[in-house]
Structures are given as C-alpha cells and as structure tokens.
Symmetry: C2
Subunit: 281 residues, 2 copies
C-alpha cells in the first residue's frame, strides 16, 4: 500500500507559546506564511513492524514523523520517503510539513478515512510532543498568510488569513536554531510571550503584509533572538527600500524586496507565498 501527500513550508514571523496539558490544545498564537515549496512524502506499507524514514535520499531519525507513524500505523512496516525542498532546522517548518504529509499519506494508504483535521491533529500532537513546533501544522493545513488567533491543532485552534496576491519572498540562510532549546529556556519563553502578544494585537488591528513584516521585525529584536549578523542583513535590506525580518526559529532572513542587497550575504532563495495548504497527491 502506497500513497503520496504534500505539505507546504511555513515561516513564522512572531509567536506566543500557549501551554496546555492537552497536547491538541497546546500550541502557539502568531502569524506566518506558507511557501510554494515544502515537503512531498510517499509512504509504503508492508506486513511486519518498524519504521524507516528517508529524507532527500538519506536515512534519518526524524522523531516527529516517527511519532506520526507510531500513532497511525504501528502494526505495519512503514517506509516514509520525503523530498524536502527547503532548508531543514532553519524555521521553514520542515518537521511539521514532514509530519503532516506523512499523516495524510498514511490515512489514505490505510483507508483510515481521517479528515484534514483528524490527520493534522496527529501531526500537531507529534510536533508538540517532540518540541519541534507549535503552530506550523495548523498553518500548513490551511495555507496562505495565516494568523493563528487561538492555539491548538486544526479544528481546535482558530485562524484567519491576510489576503495576499502572488508575493515573492527572498531568503538568506545563515544557520540553524534548535526549536527545542528555545522552547525549553524559561527566560526566553517569557520574552517571546510578551513580545508575541503585543505583535498579534497589533496585527489584528491592521492585518496587512506590511504590518506583519514590521511587527515581526520588532518581535525578533524585543525577544533578543536576532543575532548581530541577522540584524546587519535586515538593515541592509531596509536601506535598499525593502522590508525584512527573521524566521522563527532559524538563523534566516526573509525579505520582501531587497534581492540585490541580500546577495552580498549568501545565496538567495526566492519562494512565492502559497495560497493552498497540505493535500494528497
């Protein structure tokens, strides 16, 4: 039994951590955007037991995707093959997209007949459990420029979206940040929650992409998550008339405009914001 599914990458600009003892209700509030790039997953299911996860041709640990497989297909041998066309571990929501595409594909291959919210709920819980993300899955389920008004898994959390046309976003990747390390640091969490709440309140008053870029930038500064190197690149984009901020959580600058100034700092990847979310292939 085989099936294929796709989930878009997702970049968060700012967020607030919302604790809850129920993992489906735990999550984040905030805002980000999905990309016309992400994770394509094929699952193959055979008699037996065990899990093999192969990402871009290499056997990988992928704990979040493994959690999904254990929940949905523990009585089989499952091979998960994902092609990820965004950087991994850099705030592009690759773990959420891997988990979500795996959940959708497994439900289809095994005729589990899960709805979107059903499949995405499993992926969301896997992310929370493994501390790899809090709000990527609900955004990746919907697609677009998603405002997470209330935290939680799809069907529990509440979203709105900012209307955008085909916007191109430029990215420069400096390195990884461990989501787990940040989520486990008590002091950083406090800063994130204060700044995240302020940013979301500001965005709800004026839900535009320009306001999102500005509030994200302020959030990255106020939380102390912005490194000097990132600040330097953002400044350079601004000088060139663009707007930029930092992906949460990755040592990554995303920018609207400012392509030429970004080139000085490394290879520039350009993706369009996607309008649609995860789907079966």
């Amino acid at each position: 039994m085989r099936a294929r599914a796709y989930a878009p990458a997702h970049i968060t600009g700012f967020f607030e951590i919302c604790e809850h003892s129920d993992q489906r209700q735990m999550g984040s509030r905030g805002c980000g955007f999905t990309l016309q790039a992400g994770v394509t997953t094929e699952v193959s299911i055979e008699e037996g037991e065990g899990i093999s996860v192969i990402i871009n041709g290499t056997k990988t640990d992928a704990p979040t995707t493994r959690s999904v497989v254990r929940r949905l297909a523990s009585e089989y041998f499952v091979e998960v093959r994902s092609r990820i066309d965004v950087p991994i571990g850099c705030g592009f929501g690759a773990s959420g997209a891997g988990a979500l595409s795996t959940a959708l594909a497994l439900s289809n291959a095994l005729s589990l007949d899960l709805s979107y919210n059903g499949a995405a709920g499993v992926a969301h819980v896997a992310e929370v459990e493994n501390k790899t993300g809090l709000g990527d899955v609900i955004a990746q389920t919907h697609g677009g420029m998603v405002i997470r008004r209330k935290p939680g898994a799809p069907g529990i959390g509440e979203v709105d979206r900012i209307p955008v046309s085909d916007v191109e976003v430029n990215h420069v990747v400096l390195g990884e940040i461990s989501t787990k390390d940040v989520l486990e640091d008590e002091k950083v969490r406090g800063c994130i929650n204060r700044a995240g709440r302020t940013a979301l309140n500001g965005l709800l008053k004026r839900p535009t992409i320009q306001n999102f870029m500005q509030l994200s930038n302020q959030f990255a500064i106020d939380t102390g998550l912005m490194s000097d190197a990132v600040a330097n690149i953002i400044e350079s984009v601004k000088s060139a008339g663009g707007t930029a901020s930092m992906a949460m959580l990755g040592e990554v600058v995303f920018a609207i405009g400012g392509y030429d100034s970004l080139k000085d700092f490394g290879p520039v990847r350009t993706y369009k914001i996607s309008h649609d979310g995860a789907r079966l292939l």
Copy 2:
C-alpha cells in the same frame, strides 16, 4: 483605484438550513467542493456615487454583489467586472464567488485592510440577506472539499475538509433552480433539514469522497429536490460504474466517472476539485 480577486465555484451536495437572527451566524451545515473554475473580478473605483456590475460583458442586476459594494464602498462610483466561467443560477455558487471576489478586491483597492474573515463576512451577509446562498462563501474562502460543521460566516462557522487529490468532476447542466424559492418554501425546508442532518452525521463518521457522493444522492432523493430527468442521468452514470448526485441548488448532475454515459444527456463540463480558496490576483 483598481484591484482584482478570484473566488472558486462551489457545489453543495447536501445541507441543513440554520436560522439565526444575526446574519453572520445564520448559514448552513453540509458538505460540498470547490472547483478549479469560478469568478474573476476587477473593481474600478472613482469619485462619485453609483454601482455598475458587468458580468461576462453584460450589465447585470447582481443584487448580492451590489450589497457588498454598498457595505464597503458606498461613497464612491464602483464598477465591478466579473468573468464567471461556470453556469450561473445552477448551484455552482456563482453569486457567493462574485460577492467574495468583489469584497476582497474592494478591500484591497480601498486599503480597507480587511482580513479574509473580514472580507468574507461581508460577502456571507450579502448572500444571506439576498437569499442567494447560505454556505458557499465559507467554503469558497477555504477551498477544497469542505465540511461545514457549524453554520455562519468564516471565523464564526467551523469547517473541516475531506483530503482529496486532483479529482475530476463531470457536470451536465439541465437548468436553473431559484435558491430563494427553495429557501422560502416552509415544507421543503423541513425536508431539507431532516435529510441534511442525517447526511452530515453520516459523513462525519466516515469523511470520504465516496461516502459524500452516496449521502448527497440520498439527500437529493429524500428532499424531493431530484427531478425525474436528473434521477435518470444519475442512474445511467451508476450503470456505467460511476457515482453521481445533484448540485444544490441547480438542475445539474455532478459525477465522478461516467463521462461517456453523461454525454447522451448534454454537453459535459469537467472541472477538477480545487485545493485553494479565494485570493487576490
């Protein structure tokens, strides 16, 4: 000032009318799917007063779209030009798609900075007010195979979706049905609500496209909305190994498979189910 937006067509398979004194909370529960075809709207705004709606090149009354313009741009002269590439008045949700694309375009052109839910809320209320639809706008805002679990405008109503890949749906159009006439007939409403509730309960237990097709068919029979001509076509598709039902509300058969048997009854239009909803262009 000009702006353009698109909203997909939407076909409902079954529904339940949910009354409420607040038009944003009034709506329907049920299930349907959006198509990779729909309404593209350009709005042009000038000094002055008045509304001109031009659909496929012809000046048209379009009361639902006019309601949207009155709400968002009453102090201007507004020209709305829509290209509708599905049949009008036949259960393809053209009025909802026209209203939704107009609301998104107006918000953008006038920098009203409405979110998706904000713009779609205006379109939903316009539909309810004019009795042209109850659940199309929320489905068209999300896109895909949308289960409307709780009624209302986007942000108030609650949806889930059935995961589907690129499914082709074949259509034969026999004629129009007035949504207003059906919504105003007390006796028909009773039948719709009983049958709609049963169908939705059945779908939530097993949210698959096959189950949706079957439950829609049963709904069309139980409500008495299915004409002999439609029943005849559906039977013919079934004999050929396909599944089919009737669009709510139009004298229209939609079918998965059965293309050759449909051809005997008129020109067949084939659209894919869309994964994405309305958007700015």
